[in-house]
């Protein structure tokens, strides 16, 4: 076996965050090498490093024995490294043939038209060669995205979630394509993929990432058996949390349904993300919404918030039909959303961030002060940080600010999108306690989490999403003790 590509200690930092940290990769010629890991593990950042979109802060990249570290995207492309994109990246107002011709010419094909014909056959779009790319179905556009990379006749193909947002029957076609490229044409492929059945069936080798680091590597069988991998996907909690959670949990008695979704379906453009979602959150509950990356968790929250109106179904909150309500309208009913990645305003101080919800709502100054005081009572660590700018806070502190900002101003219902992402275990514990405290104050919580263990410790009930459908619903205490369900839907 010959090695075609390797990285040595490849790292990049964004401020305090080590997005990719000391990655060593070695890719065999003619193999399919999968990179997997939970959301935020640094997989796409790794691809951006490998294709020159981001410059590494340390480490080397070697392609066919040549040091290519620090080359620009177009230079790497000319060396023979081609990529497809997680979010479809094509030339929408050009025809399929023009899309491929541009790439074939860029790849210095001796006969660009012949190369275009070959690729058209390969990606099964020959019959649509003259169609404007932007008018095709999502699945066809995904294939064209791969086709553009192929048309440059690369020596190494990097595919970033090629089946993202595809229904099962289209997924099969893509998997067959990737397999064919290896078996019939000898292509070397590095693949980021979340659908575990695909990963297991197609990969020669798998690298598992978490928090920017490689935590496991090997054949599919080896990786599947690795306890560190299971840990990475389910997350972890301190034993002390369990006791606190049970103490806190015993005090509450769920009230009548506060939020109800009935048969909700949502689409992004052409791809349908949510299929017929029905769920209920009762007053005073903490409900967890679990699922792998891309299962539709964030989309569910955005749909409830009114940021993404559903195609079908109804959403009711506290007796109001909020299906077609604007985000402001939903917020004014007392619904708060803490988005993924926290989105604390970097240029504003902690105090200013917290006061933001009041600027628009005409709250009298006295009320504002009392709300702010309440906020600092809940989050005492923020008091000393009051005058610090948002970008001078640690990840944990930013998360506190984001939550505090969402609960001030009389929110009754709080939706949290992956609050534990990127936080140290100790901080995750503290965060869990805060969520319990918020509930104690009478706020109902819908919690989206990758850290299933933490979520199930503090939640009353949980729903499990897969491919945009609810596949399981249970009391958190029951689900916690059900490794079969957790493994099937959340791990691999």
């Amino acid at each position: 076996m010959t090695e075609i590509f390797r990285t040595e200690g490849l790292s990049v930092r964004f401020g305090a965050l080590a997005a990719v940290d000391g990655m060593d990769l070695s890719i065999e010629q003619g193999s399919i090498h999968c990179v997997i890991g939970p959301n935020g593990a640094g997989k796409t950042t790794l691809f951006n490093l490998l294709t020159g979109t981001i410059r590494p802060s340390a480490g080397r990249i070697l392609f066919r024995g040549e040091d290519v570290t620090g080359l620009k995207p177009h230079e790497l492309a000319r060396k023979g490294i081609a990529r497809s994109f997680q979010i479809t990246s094509i030339f929408p107002e050009l025809t399929v043939r023009e899309n491929l011709r541009l790439a074939a010419r860029a790849g210095r094909a001796t006969d660009p038209e012949a190369r275009v014909r070959e690729v058209l056959e390969e990606i099964e779009l020959a019959s649509k060669a003259s169609v404007l790319a932007g008018f095709m179905s999502h699945g066809d556009q995904r294939h064209l995205d791969i086709g553009i990379a192929l048309a440059t006749s690369p020596a190494l193909l990097l595919l970033d979630e090629p089946t993202a947002g595809m229904p099962p029957h289209e997924t099969e076609g893509t998997v067959a394509l990737v397999r064919r490229l290896r078996d019939q044409h000898g292509y070397t492929t590095i693949l980021i993929e979340h659908k575990m059945d695909i990963v297991m069936s197609i990969s020669d080798r798998i690298t598992v990432m978490r928090s920017g680091r490689k935590i496991a590597e090997g054949t599919p069988t080896q990786v599947q058996a690795d306890p560190a991998v299971r840990e990475a996907y389910l997350g972890g909690v301190d034993a002390s949390l369990s006791a606190k959670a049970h103490q806190a949990g015993a005090a509450t008695e769920p009230g009548p349904p506060l939020l109800t979704l009935e048969g909700v379906s949502t689409s992004y453009g052409l791809s349908q993300i949510l299929h017929d979602i029905s769920l209920t959150v009762r007053g005073g509950e903490i409900v967890a919404l679990l699922g792998r990356n891309g299962a539709g968790k964030t989309t569910t929250l955005r749909t409830i918030m009114g940021l993404l109106p559903p195609r079908r179904g109804t959403i009711r909150f506290d007796g109001h039909d909020i299906t077609r309500l604007s985000p402001e309208g939903v917020a004014n009913l007392g619904v708060g959303l803490v988005p993924e990645g926290r989105r604390v305003f970097a240029n504003l101080t902690v105090g200013e961030n917290l006061l933001l919800p009041f600027f628009m709502s005409g709250v009298p100054a006295v009320e504002r002060t009392s709300q702010l005081r309440r906020c600092f009572e809940w989050f005492p660590t923020l008091v000393q940080r009051k005058s610090n700018r948002g970008d001078r806070l640690s990840g944990g502190e930013q998360q506190m600010v984001a939550i505090a900002r969402a609960v001030v101003g009389r929110r009754r219902f709080l939706m949290l999108d992956e609050p534990s992402q990127g936080l140290a275990p100790r901080v995750v514990n503290h965060l869990a306690e805060i969520i319990l405290e918020i509930r104690k104050q009478g706020v109902t919580v819908l919690l989206v989490e990758q850290n299933a263990r933490m979520a199930l410790e503090i939640a009353d009930r949980a729903y499990v999403l897969e491919d945009g459908r609810i596949v399981h619903e249970d009391a958190a205490a029951v689900l916690r003790e059900n490794p079969a369900v957790l493994g099937k839907h959340l791990v691999m």
């Binding site: 081609a82 929408p92 790849g107 990379a149 048309a151 440059t152």
Partner: protein
Amino acid sequence: MRSILALAVLLAVAPLLIVPLGGYHALLSEMVIFAVFAIGFNLLLGYTGILSFGHAAYFGLAGYTMGLLLIHSDLPLWAAMLAGVLAAGVAAVIIGLLIIRKAGIYFAMLTIAFGQMFFFVAMRWKSVTGGEDGLSDIPRKTLFGLDLSSPVRFYYFTAVVCLAAAVVAWRVIHSSFGDVLRAIRENEARCAAIGYDVRRYKLASFVIAALFAAVSGTLYVLLLRYAFPQTMDWIRSGNVVVMSLVGGLGTFSGPIVGATLVTFLNNYISFHTRYWQLVMGVVFVVFVMFFPRGIAGYVLEARRRFRR
């Protein structure tokens, strides 16, 4: 090539039509001259998707350079024009290299800044540029022995240049180079990811547009026999953006339609009211809000539908 033929015919018969329409031959020349400017600018804005508010700088720089050479030297007209265009080209390469890595609003602001630098040099450097008064009485020499003194003759000279400019633009648009420009407009990141050095193509597009502006600028100064600082003001740069939008961005005939129409309307309305800029502003707003694809954009679509 049918568009080119149609343009040739139109340019040939235009002098017969302009007088009944309430115009005059010098106005016709002005319309055609701005068409040259807009044709080049369309390659930058319409095809590559780069917004510049500073291309009047090259329009004016070429005009001033040519004017100075005609006044102070014995160079023949063609050589003075060429020198003006080359000077503008060199300036565009230098400025382009400095600013092309910026994108969007930052790029647009930098183009204004550099454009205004030229404007202020023309205003302040009195001993050479004549300051606010500009350069007047620029001789309109013969071109290869051809006398250009009559308005009709001068018009046909600008018409030939305009036709040549349209042919060059046609070839650029229908070349593989033109395909890459369009690809940059559609999706710059992907364009780089398949191996195109996006910055070089953007710079080339920037400079080509500047060369068209320069040719247009030399003709304009020759038409008026007068060069003045306002030729390079950013308002003139903005004017060519308006022409491109009204005509239809990224269409071959759009800039020609837009430039001639806007120039004609400017002239016509300013003859009737002092508030002509207000009227033009309203026209612009209406186009941006309700007809964002411009006149040519809608004509093309209507034709496509009709054929189906």
